[in-house]
Symmetry: C2
Subunit: 371 residues, 2 copies
Amino acid sequence: MFTLIKEDGQARRGVLKTRHGDIQTPIFMPVGTQATVKGMTPAQIEEVGAQIILGNTYHLNIRPGSDLVHEMGGLHQFMNWKKPILTDSGGFQVFSLSKLRKITEKGIEFRSHLDGRKLFLGPQNCYEIQKNLDTDIAMVLDECPPYPCERDECESAVARTIRWAGEFLEHATRDGFIESGHHVFGIIQGSIYDDLRQHCGQALAEMDFPGYAIGGVSVGEPEEEMIRQVAATAPVMPKGKPRYVMGVGTPPQLLKMVGLGMDMFDCVMPTRLARHASVFTPHGVLNLKNERFKHDPNPIMEADNYTCQNFSRAYLRHLIMAKELLAHTLLSIHNTHFFLDLMAQARAHIEAGDYAAWSAAWIERYNAGNQ
Amino acid sequence: MFTLIKEDGQARRGVLKTRHGDIQTPIFMPVGTQATVKGMTPAQIEEVGAQIILGNTYHLNIRPGSDLVHEMGGLHQFMNWKKPILTDSGGFQVFSLSKLRKITEKGIEFRSHLDGRKLFLGPQNCYEIQKNLDTDIAMVLDECPPYPCERDECESAVARTIRWAGEFLEHATRDGFIESGHHVFGIIQGSIYDDLRQHCGQALAEMDFPGYAIGGVSVGEPEEEMIRQVAATAPVMPKGKPRYVMGVGTPPQLLKMVGLGMDMFDCVMPTRLARHASVFTPHGVLNLKNERFKHDPNPIMEADNYTCQNFSRAYLRHLIMAKELLAHTLLSIHNTHFFLDLMAQARAHIEAGDYAAWSAAWIERYNAGNQ
């Protein structure tokens, strides 16, 4: 299901097969939390080059409910997205959004952040929800320790993460989910403790998952610490399986992690920053609210997307100042395209064998700002 | 510039030539108040079949300013809309939105509803603003009396409307605006007083405008009164010129006015109702927030637009309940297409010579509701 086409240092160029088509890695996955990538139609998401999008199990299970999505033919049909979908386990959102959670060996009891309803998430129903969504890549239920986190607390979280991963995989295997072409990825936790991350990674590797993720990064730790954790975890991740870093990151972070051998990423940053008037360029982030763009007839940058091909910074700034919906859409199109195009460039440079030099120069230019 | 192809009773099938292409009438014009039809990209507006859109002089002059739009190459280039644009005079908004207005013979002094800035709108700068926008069809400055309105107040408004129309036309003619292919439409006022409307219409007809509009309808009067005013005004509107009813209306109102020989219409209804979860169907308006659509796998209706071709009522309801931006876009696409398609059907039935029977049946079915 995963083929490595080329290696360039630790960076990898691969192809991941799914029920809804092949994914060229490294790849960025736009986030479609509530069965929509905020502000974009599926046609626009496809037009900017998305190969796979992410759906949020926690949100979709609360509203509209995974049963309703199942009744409507699964998440692909419900939201009219014909390419692959990865769903997270909902565990991270239970920790970050819900109230009054109680962790037991069986799972997590919590209350909905929307209406206070009492809910439970354990390895079995976490699997069943994602089966209802008919996802292409399901993520196991994990316990995501906070940052900072004491070692003994982290040890318990890692132990539960390993046990829940095994239970999840057992349900999915017994149910024929994996045999029918769906993938299940294990999630490696361990916070800042390298030995715990490696222990977790090895334990999951023995279970032979179709893919592996690094979870519990970008939860408040400094960037260098995050990169260090990924670097420390990479060696225990099976080389022949796709490697996914969850919930990251900035363009330079993505490039650094590709350089550490990571293949897949997701982040709300492109669409969230778009809703706050910020746009990505090779020279850093611009905030289009700035007065200096008022008379600027140029596009955000020279780029092959609908926004940059057709609209000036002056017009986009006008839409933002006038609080027009179209601003969110046009900025989301650009930002999402920017992330997807960055990964396309990364793939090309891995193929060309000059990834390290190219990515270092790219990061340097980006960080210099200078627009 | 305006050719009548076919008449069917009083209903007319025509073609209006503009600098940005031909318009097939009768036609509905989506409203792009702030240089954007709310929630839709220009590509989506074109995809639903729009032939011409409307821009609001009052709003654009306050923000971003007509000088800025001019500097950016005019409204077409600014907002990336390549087909015709009609701009209103801003007069109606001065009366409905601004504070502390004072009407003199020279024009209207008022304060911006946004920042209280003191502004002035007279026939000359009203023309110059629309010239800056580089509109295809400019509307003269008029005084729109309220409803209800005393006769003597209405007489003064009509007298000023006629004088300002003449001054506007003089500026536009002297400046070469009309010779270079731009159109200027006169606006007929007169509230509920048939003789004042006819007097206004005749006075404007003598000035030989490229087109004529009925203003001051849909300002709070009952529907029958509105229809009556249009019927009373129609006879004094030159047959060989396009006839535009400003700011209306519901689908049945549009059909009735086409039946009275009107050619052009604009209304914010399709996009405004979309933002309130309401969608048009041949059987009336549905509010998709309704619980009964929760499990409904059907499209809004069988229609050839992106929304109806790809999304269920259940999904659209989910987007609405989750307050997702995409709801506004998808509902606006459907509603705008509905109005444009209704006018396309009207054109076909005028050509076929069965407009009266078809439109009566259409209105009856629509008013029956029954979904």
